[in-house]
Amino acid sequence: MKNVLVSALAFTSGFVIMSLELLGGRLLAPYFGSSIYVWGSVITVFMLALSVGYLTGGWLSLFNPSLKRFSLIFFTSAATLYPLAMITEPVMERVFETLTDPRWGSLVAALVLFALPTFILGLISPYAVRLLVVNVDRAGNTAGTLYFVSTIGSALGTLATSFYFVLWFQMDTIIFLLSGTLLLLGFVSWMAARNR
């Protein structure tokens, strides 16, 4: 049961990360265009934030790892994602006025907007590994399964967002839905932890 739950959570984090990354490029377009350097900025920021998130998530898993604490990561990620809908315009406006080179402009804007929520989302994978590993012999197997599940989530998040979500919803609505999903899953794992 715990396996299924933690895997579902890892899947969702993968889904949300890539959905957000695609939205990131779109959000920046009105101010910085949609050239390759805008995507370069977005991907750079996501990779940096995820790498620091992985490092920190692994470190956090050293201290009394539990499903309950895991759910706190989800609450935090939902809380850092939600304000994006409100702050995107003023942040981009400000950066646009300050930096004239759209390459640096898009990089700084992406950093300010996406680094924090992506960092929090990066905490999830290593923490999930710690929750599911029962012995060293099977550690690689467990990690492999989690990578598999979360990367499938990333693939589906990319596909769903670029093929359908942008056709159905406003971008703010998509951010709201992603944030709501994280909140809901945080709640589910919080309840699961309480009922153990």
Partner: protein
């Protein structure tokens, strides 16, 4: 050595034997697209894709360089029926440079700003299409949206703005939204004219139409066989009457003959009728799946 000579011959033969298209005289990969220059007889065309069925972006007749080869390029000149004496002109999207050259001919005193994101397109236009920037024509190599935002910050104004930015597919999505048109409207002040080149097929037609209507209200919708393009014409000073359009067209008639622009036919075809689905969703920065909508057919 012999080998490479054979290869050149083979390649040349391949290009020559292609019946619909002529010889590719230049091919260059830019950051944004593959750029092809293709000669068929005396006609030289610019293409933005390797797909051979792709329509050309721009063509010139090398024997008669003034003549406008494409119907839609001619149609865009209808803008001068709304802006009879533009002093400041902004063109988003250079292509082969046909429009800025013609406008510079007709209005030698006007200052023309051309925005083109792709530096390779600028060089190709200069090298193969006789385009030249200078005192009266300035080229800015940047994204149209970024240029427009900065121009708004500088409080710049234009008498005539022409939106003609296309990539190999269609208009970039961030250049089709309500917010972009609002920014462009700011550049028009209270008397400027806007000319926008769009396509008339696919579901996107409805969405683009309501988006323009949401920003500009009433506008002329201009279509003409055999072109499947639709030219949108907006005037911030209010749309001129048919009589005024006809009078101006008569005035231009002889002058535009060299360009092969049948301007006297245009006023009757510039329609104010709403032939789109008014309930279609407006395109915004928040909702801009334009090129997904384009792939689905109109269902009316």
């Amino acid at each position: 050595m012999k080998h490479s000579a054979t290869m050149v011959l083979t390649l040349t033969a391949l290009f020559i034997t292609s019946p619909l298209h002529g010889r590719i005289i230049h091919r260059e990969q830019s950051l944004y697209q593959t750029i092809l220059v293709d000669d068929t007889g005396s006609r030289r065309c610019l293409q933005f894709s390797v797909r051979r069925d792709q329509r050309s972006q721009s063509c010139v007749d090398l024997k008669h360089p003034q003549r406008m080869v494409f119907t839609y390029t001619q149609m865009m000149m209808a803008g001068i029926l709304l802006a009879p004496d533009p002093q400041k002109i902004l063109i988003i999207g250079l292509g082969g440079g046909t429009l800025p050259l013609a406008l510079n001919d007709l209005f030698p005193e006007a200052l023309i700003d051309v925005v083109e994101i792709d530096g390779v397109v600028v060089r190709v236009a200069e090298e193969y299409f006789g385009f030249q920037s200078g005192e009266h024509i300035k080229v800015f190599e940047t994204d149209g949206r970024i240029f427009t935002k900065r121009a708004v910050m500088r409080h710049d104004q234009y008498d005539l703005v022409i939106l003609d930015a296309f990539n190999g597919d269609y208009i970039p999505e961030h250049l089709m939204t309500r917010e972009y048109l609002q920014e462009t409207r700011t550049l028009l002040g209270n008397k400027g004219t806007l000319v926008a080149n769009t396509f008339s097929q696919s579901r996107l037609y409805d969405h683009e139409s309501v988006t323009y209507a949401s920003v500009f209200g009433d506008y002329f919708n201009f279509k003409q066989y055999p072109s499947s393009n639709r030219i949108i014409l907006v005037s911030m000073a209010g749309l001129p009457t048919l009589d005024l359009l006809k009078a101006r067209a008569t005035g231009w008639r002889d002058r535009l003959r060299a360009y092969r622009i049948p301007i006297h036919n245009y006023p009757d075809r510039m329609s104010r009728n709403i032939d789109w689905d008014r309930d279609a969703r407006v395109l915004t920065d928040q909702y801009a799946p334009a090129n997904l909508l384009r792939s689905s057919n109109r269902h009316r």
